[in-house]
């Protein structure tokens, strides 16, 4: 199965074509230049397909990181994938942005602490146990304060903890020397990881794909009286 994956959940946008049977990345491209994803994402997809001499008809299915992340960014990538998959009548898989980040650490033996900056001392986070080619989820995706996350991390003493994601530097600055940080080349969301994290049992028709926004805790969301 050949999958085209997109990610524009945060500041960078990326596109990848992955052959799932062979476990090979056939094509990959990424931009991180602060131009709106609505202008970069589809030209990027078109250009990497062209460079790889592939067409959308060679694609069997689509994958996209559908949250958490920037509300605007998620809507751009999710609607782009929805549109292509709907037109071609191909299945889609929405992948947790945080789960995809854990796949950046495949091959390591560590706790992946996936963190995306949610501002104001909070991060979107989930923890995963990465062991070689396996990724096991330890927590649900959530919005959590750095202080609260610190409490949880202090309980995890058996394995190295590695921060990955666009909030990795923020978290690493906060916790200092107790944890390590993924190097720049594997730190950020990328569409190839999204394709690897896409579970074939979770493919659905295009119309069922939705962004999964994660809200801040209820206390911060009091309604107008």
């Amino acid at each position: 199965m050949t999958i085209l994956g997109l990610d524009s959940s945060a500041v960078s946008a990326s596109c990848a074509v992955v052959d799932k049977e062979l476990g090979k990345i056939k094509a990959y491209g990424s931009v991180n230049v602060k131009i709106t994803h609505s202008q970069t994402l589809l030209p990027l997809a078109e250009n990497i397909l062209k460079a790889a001499k592939l067409s959308l008809h060679d694609i069997d299915a689509f994958a996209v990181s559908n949250g958490p992340g920037s509300f605007t960014g998620l809507r751009i990538s999710v609607s782009a994938v929805k549109g292509m998959a709907f037109a071609l009548n191909k299945p889609v898989c929405g992948v947790s942005t945080l789960l995809a980040l854990a796949y950046n650490l495949l091959g390591r033996d560590a706790i992946a602490c996936c963190v995306m900056d949610a501002r104001r001392g909070e991060v979107y986070n989930a923890l995963f146990d990465v062991c070689g080619g396996n990724v096991e989820r330890l927590t649900p995706d959530r919005a959590i304060s750095l202080a609260e996350l610190g409490g949880e991390l202090s309980q995890l003493t058996e394995k190295e903890i590695v921060f990955v994601g666009d909030g990795a530097e923020l978290a690493h600055d906060y916790f200092e020397e107790t944890c390590s940080i993924a190097p720049e080349i594997t730190r950020y969301q990328n569409a190839a990881s999204v394709c690897f994290a896409a579970d074939e049992s979770e493919f659905v028709p295009a119309k069922k794909l939705m962004p999964v926004y994660i809200r801040k805790p209820q206390a911060e969301r009091e309604r107008r009286p």
Binding site: S70, F71, G73, R75, R119, R120, R215, E220, E222, R224
Partner: protein
């Protein structure tokens, strides 16, 4: 300060615009017709934004180079605010946010902000108060 005309309200906005850093947030409060949009027109002048500023009531946000002009008149909760992608704009440029009173906890989303309150004191007279808060 007291403004006695649209021109003076624009001038007050221009003065604030001239001293803003490039990612400051300005929350505007005031009833319909108070002059919030005129104040933002002044801010744009002070920021060197040359485009014509119009009310974003229907678009929710009008984007200019370096200035994002929001109108939260139709936004009633933090959930709605998140849904329109407001937080994606924070730190990307100057934010001017009309009808900030619609979101009681709006300030919590910001590290620092100016509050501009424009109160009607007569047909043309307006009392404008500007406070800066760092949380």
């Amino acid at each position: 300060m007291l403004s006695n005309s649209v021109e003076e309200t624009v001038k007050a906005g221009r003065e604030l615009g001239g001293k803003l850093k490039n990612d400051d947030a300005v929350l505007l409060y005031g009833e319909m017709g108070a002059g919030k949009t005129h104040f933002v027109k002044g801010m744009a002048l002070g920021l060197g934004v040359t485009a014509t500023i119009t009310s974003p009531t229907f678009a929710l946000v009008n984007e200019y180079k370096g200035l994002y002009h929001f109108d939260l008149f139709r936004i009633n909760s933090l959930d709605d605010l998140y849904a329109i992608g407001f937080c994606d704009y924070i730190g990307k440029g100057v934010l001017a946010v009309e009808w900030s009173e619609n979101i009681p906890n709006l300030e919590r989303e910001l590290d620092d902000y100016y509050k501009v309150k424009i109160a009607k004191k007569g047909e043309n007279a307006r009392e404008i108060t500007i406070d800066y808060t760092r949380t």
